[in-house]
């Protein structure tokens, strides 16, 4: 987890976003110290609901920058991801692709690749950037956790995007794969060495397969009206002055509206 927090820290620093306004709903536990270091607000949500929780945060206070972090998000919460992308909620989804869910020793998870687990996995994984792209995400990228500089830049870029951005971070849980497959080398390094950077590649060509190198890079970068944009625009059009635009941030903590 720690490398991710460092990357997040750098990315936020690079983006220049006020840390106070950043909220991270996540279904994977953060150490309290990390939250202190990052100086952000952190919410550990029920499994798979980080994106839906983030949707509520964003709509409740549009001034917030919401970064749902999800481990292998496509299991329980896949639906919230595809719908978030369709609506274009202005959130940045960080998908930590462990290839295996750390807490559950070597059990198949959706992104677990058949090549890497001889015993328990036989399902094909998702191509996350393609799925994100097909549902309407405005920004998709994939990096391994060792691409620290690129990742930080990606986080900063994505934070400036208006709409649902998604970054897939390959950060396998080495303990498990090492014991299962007998791979002794550092898995993180293994992925890094076996990746190839192809920015702007069509996301449909970036599936992770056992045969080919892992394609990393920034794949999608486009503009679409966000949910709040469309919401305000459409209601203004029909309701005119009767409409109270959404987007004014609530007053500071302890304010009179509270």
């Amino acid at each position: 987890m720690n490398p991710i927090i460092n990357i997040l820290d750098k990315g936020i620093e690079q983006s220049g976003v006020d840390r106070k306004t950043i909220s991270i709903p996540s279904d994977i536990p953060f150490p309290p110290d990390a939250v202190k270091t990052l100086r952000i607000d952190y919410f550990q949500t029920p499994r798979g609901r980080a994106i839906a929780f983030g949707t509520g945060l964003k709509l409740g206070n549009p001034a917030l920058k919401v970064i749902p972090i999800v481990g292998d998000l496509m299991t329980l919460g896949g639906n919230h991801f595809v719908h978030g992308a369709r609506r274009n909620m202005e959130i940045l989804v960080l998908c930590i692709n462990n290839f295996v869910y750390k807490k559950i020793a070597g059990k198949p998870l959706t992104s677990a690749n058949p090549e890497f687990s001889a015993y328990s996995t036989f399902e094909e994984p998702f191509n996350f950037p393609h799925l994100g792209n097909s549902c309407g995400a405005v920004y998709t990228a994939r990096w391994t956790a060792l691409h620290t500089k690129e990742l930080a830049t990606s986080v900063a870029e994505a934070l400036s995007k208006r709409g649902l951005s998604m970054i897939e971070i390959l950060a396998p849980g080495p303990n498990y794969y090492r014991t299962i497959d007998g791979v002794n080398s550092d898995i993180l390094q293994f992925y890094f060495d076996n990746s190839i950077i192809k920015n702007n590649e069509d996301p449909r060509n970036v599936a992770i397969t056992p045969e080919e190198k892992i394609v990393v890079g920034t794949f999608t970068d486009r503009e679409r009206p966000t949910f709040i944009d469309s919401y305000n625009l459409q209601h203004k059009k029909i309701l005119g002055d009767k409409f109270t635009p959404h987007g004014a941030a609530p007053t500071e903590r302890g304010g009179k509206d509270g």
Binding site: P114, E123, R224, F227, Q234, K237, L239
Partner: protein, 295 residues
């Protein structure tokens, strides 16, 4: 398929595949779901599917009632979960031909997760998604397929969310067969369903259907016949079109055709392969703990 008459009673040509004791059905006049059902039953015959070995699973909604009218082993399940339910059937009894027949709200909104996962796993089943752009059973709420700016009861000032492009999401999550037709294209739809029924893997056929009672009424688009006219004038058949170009706007051109037809190993194939591998390498794997005390 001429209408036969026995004892002055009109016999539906598909009587052996429909539950005639359930007629009349609940669908409104000018609805397109009945057309989809007719095309489907015709396809079942054409594809030479043994009706005793086919199961149909529906969720909740107008299209969710299809299972109640088609005479197969039929299951009317919970909202959004027909694919999950059907997955259980297929994995537990791989000999069954499993068909999921449900609506856009059921499959794409609440059931979106099961849809993408079943496509990823490539579970061998046919998913017929009747898309009428709205939740009709509950009275016309906005659906994840409702075009931008279209009206619905929960978007009283126009829909603010862009709709799903169902073929694109099916494609990106791994479906092996993806086609789309409107309720007007009965012949093509029947052919597509026939092909899909014979396809091994996760096949998706989207059927664009008029909803005269809610979608057209709220949006002042006339009745079902007007919608059919609209389909006639505004549908373009483009086989093999890139799925990313298949968005549907409010009263814009609709592209229909067969978009994806490819091969991927299905879930059961992978499962069986895994099984044989496990069996052959069994000795190398840990025996179950405690088994040493056997006897």
């Amino acid at each position: 398929m001429a209408v036969e008459r026995i004892d002055d009673r009109e016999i539906h040509p598909m009587e052996n595949l429909l539950r005639m004791d359930r007629m009349p059905h609940i669908w409104c006049p000018t609805c397109g779901i009945g057309i989809a059902v007719t095309a489907f039953t015709a396809a079942l015959e054409k594809a030479k599917i043994d009706p005793n070995m086919a199961a149909i699973v529906s969720g909740i909604g107008c299209t969710g009632r299809v299972a109640g009218y088609v005479k197969l082993d039929s299951f009317h399940t919970t909202h959004g979960r027909p694919i999950a339910f059907a997955t259980g059937i297929k994995v537990a009894n791989p000999k069954m031909k499993v068909i999921v027949f449900s609506g856009d709200g059921d499959l794409m909104a609440i059931g979106g997760n099961h849809f993408i996962h079943a496509a990823r796993r490539n579970i061998d089943m046919l998913v017929v998604c009747v898309n009428n752009f709205i939740y009709a059973m509950t009275g016309g709420q906005v659906a994840p397929t409702t075009p931008l700016a279209a009206y619905a009861t929960t978007s009283p000032y126009g829909c603010v969310e862009p709709p799903f492009n169902i073929p694109y999401i099916a494609d990106s999550s791994g479906a092996v067969y993806v086609a789309r037709y409107t309720a007007l294209h009965v012949r093509r739809l029947t052919n597509a369903l026939t092909e899909a029924l014979n396809k091994k893997g996760f096949s998706v056929v989207e059927v664009i259907s008029p909803c005269g009672m809610y979608y057209s009424r709220i949006n002042r688009l006339g009745d079902g016949l007007d919608m059919m006219k609209f389909y006639h004038d505004n549908v373009e058949i483009r086989h093999g079109e890139d799925t990313k170009n298949l968005d549907i706007g409010f009263q814009t051109k609709i592209i229909c055709g067969k978009f994806v037809d490819r091969e991927r190993p299905s879930y059961m194939e992978r499962y069986n392969q895994w099984l044989s591998e496990v069996k052959s390498t069994r000795k190398n794997l840990d025996a179950p703990k405690g088994a040493e005390g056997e006897g």
